[in-house]
């Protein structure tokens, strides 16, 4: 026992000394005049013509769709809450903007996972932050919710001026945003639309309008195939909002607008090409010619698996749409193997929240239910060249 105690004592001593060393915190504070100068300099920065690596404008906001009234049906209400999260939420009083300019502000960006898409997101943010001369830190929990919570605590501890958070889970984000709000740190939700409850604490959302995009894509396909057919769905990971936006959303959309588009099956093989291939091959066996359309939640691994299965079965007649836009996906569109994908600029996904943060610090009124959607488009074989080269 004695030795354990002595070891523990050592730990405490070391901890104590390290603590003492770490306690000198920089004294902050700017005079009023400085703040005004800063604001002026900040307002002078304009990044609206900066383009991403794919040649598209970084800062295009898409137009927001009108919000339909709340449905009364419980299931429909759940979907409505997902789709229009934050758009009509009664928010808590937002933290007022210091209105002293973005320059030199400490922006902490918390991402979801280490993935090429996120590398591109980070790229976009970095471009924007450098333009705004803001202090920028980017943390990656790599898909671990537990780690992400740690980063939130850490951001609070480091006294970030603003936190940009792509929560790993819509419902779990309630506590995350609440914590930030309680600590007096404004937060912007990006990439991932949090749940309606969470939106109460969020300054603004910037995200791809997955629901809108997929309605667009679904419409595109339905009109192309003549409004009737059998649809097989390959989903995103169940439970997340992409799952609802890219699968349930389309199912509902067709139910409402194109009753001829029948749902054949919904499967979740994950982002694995061989498994998707197997599922699609099984569909071909099971449904035969009834299978005319496939909706994919991902345009790389899933798309490769699905198109291969179709190719092997000689089913060039099946219409395939997918969420975009990776290089693989665009190559497939170009090759005519996929009929259409959505446009989702990863770099804009990273840059737009920075722009919104800049507006916030520059004293621009964001509005009470601010939602900034990324530009929307359907990429088809005809226009795919405009979007090359891909961001990731």
């Amino acid at each position: 026992m004695k030795k354990i105690f002595s070891l523990l004592l050592m730990v405490v001593l070391v901890a104590g000394s390290a603590f003492a060393a770490g306690q000198q915190e920089e004294a902050a504070g700017k005079s009023e005049a400085e703040a005004q100068a800063n604001l002026k300099a900040s307002l002078a920065i304009d990044i609206s013509d900066v383009r991403g690596s794919d040649g598209q404008l970084l800062l295009m906001y898409g137009e927001t769709r009108p919000v339909p009234p709340k449905p009364s049906d419980a299931a429909a209400l759940d979907m409505w809450k997902l789709e229009y999260a934050g758009r009509q939420t009664k928010k808590v009083d937002m933290i007022p903007s210091p209105a002293d300019g973005i320059i030199g502000k400490k922006i902490i960006m918390i991402m979801q996972s280490e993935h090429p898409y996120w590398t591109a997101v980070a790229n976009g943010s970095r471009i924007a932050c450098e333009a705004y001369q803001a202090e920028f830190e980017m943390w990656n929990p790599n898909g671990d919710l537990n780690q992400q919570n740690q980063y939130i605590d850490r951001a609070i501890a480091e006294k970030a001026d603003i936190v940009l958070l792509a929560s790993l889970d819509a419902k779990a984000s309630v506590q995350q945003f609440k914590k930030l709000y309680d600590a007096g740190i404004p937060a912007i939700a990006y990439n991932m639309i949090p749940s309606d409850d969470a939106m109460r604490y969020v300054l603004a959302i910037t995200a791809p309008d997955d629901f809108g995009q997929f309605k667009m894509l679904a419409e595109y396909m339905a009109s192309d195939v003549g409004g009737s057919g059998g649809v097989g769905y390959i989903t995103h990971i169940p439970g997340g909002s992409p799952y609802f936006a890219r699968t349930t959303n389309v199912v509902e959309y067709y139910k409402e607008n194109y009753p001829g588009m029948k749902t054949l099956d919904i499967q979740s093989p994950g982002f694995e090409a061989p498994k998707t291939k197997q599922v699609v091959a099984d569909w071909i066996t099971r449904f035969g010619d009834d299978l005319t359309c496939i909706v994919l939640a991902d345009d790389s691994a899933q798309a490769l698996g699905a198109t291969q299965a179709l190719e092997e079965a000689g089913r060039s007649d099946v219409y395939v749409i997918a969420a975009g836009n990776s290089k693989v996906g665009m190559d497939l569109v170009k090759a005519g193997k996929i009929n259409a994908i959505t446009f989702q600029s990863a770099e804009a996904d990273g840059a737009v929240p920075i722009k919104v943060a800049a507006d916030y610090f520059n004293g621009v009124d964001l509005g009470s239910n601010a939602a900034f959607y990324l530009p929307q488009a359907v990429i088809t074989p005809e226009n795919v060249d405009n979007y090359m080269p891909a961001q990731w």
Binding site: H115, A273, K277, Q278, V279, D282, R286, V328, D331, W392
Partner: protein, 358 residues
Amino acid sequence: MSNTKQDIRKTSHNSFTLIVNKFGVFFMILVLSVVGVLVSPSFLSSTNLLNILNAVSYLGIVAAGIAFVIFCGQYGDLSAPMTMATTGVICVEFMRYGLWYGIIAAVIAGAVIGMINGFVIGKLRVNAIIWTLAMNFILEGLVRWSYKGTQIYPDMATEKTYTTGFFLPIMAKLDPNIMDIDLVSRAAAFNGLATTYPLGVPLVLYVMFGVMITGYIIMSKTTFGNQLKVVGSSYEVGKMSGINATRTVMMAFMMSSIFASIAGVFMTSLNQVGAFYIGQGYDFQAVTAIILGGMSLSGGRGSMIGVFGGVFTLGLISNILTLLGIGTFTQKMITGAIFITVVAVNAKSLRKLGRDYA
């Protein structure tokens, strides 16, 4: 206890148990096939059967490799997923000089990984699970670190591409003309690996059968395979029989990594991109297939034919359940339950036959 016959024990208590035991997995395939026929009339069509095989071909290649490790009395090779990813990106790096360069580089890289695993496990007798897990971490860190979180496309050649990776920066330094290589046609050849259909059957299926048959021959016909059998059923006995046990274990791990690297090359080709996430989950799946195929963790028992059976069974279960319209996650649950039941029943029958447990 009235039996006083001083004889060897009867080798079979019950011929049915023995049959189930011996042909276990094929007996299950038979049952599943009957279910399949009942479920869908097109179940027995050649396209469907081909689909089933096709779907498990990557798993089959990995499993054929890991089977050597399990045959060797080790628990498995958890470094297989990252071996697949690592060799995949190395293949993409080297295919700039030609497809065969890429494949050979990948296989060599796989062999080196396997050699390290095998040396540590064979010589120092480290627990295979822990060591290969550490190896998996290390490889993952290396791949992520060298590619800075991006993925590497076979047909992309930018300044940025040549500054990341394992060998690309070196290659770019040695060969200033590397930017001029016509990557698009090279990439087409590479991506074609997964989309070539000689005689209407995917190439990867030939490869799987090739790997399985090679594995079968190596495991049961060669000197190494027969020595592996002895070392696998008892390391000490192998060592005391004048067999170089360390080398045998090392070669088993090398087989595993080499086969994983072949699967990695094909997976990378299928995904048309080299990245760290390729091959995730293949370690446990392979172990599942191998154990279903009748290999025992204590080593030295089972064969490559069983491994094929196990892999095929997994494909069958998934096929039938999809044909029934059952969702992926319920499928997972059912597969897991079937696996546990089969293993428990098998262990019981083995004990009934007076053998040690699985």
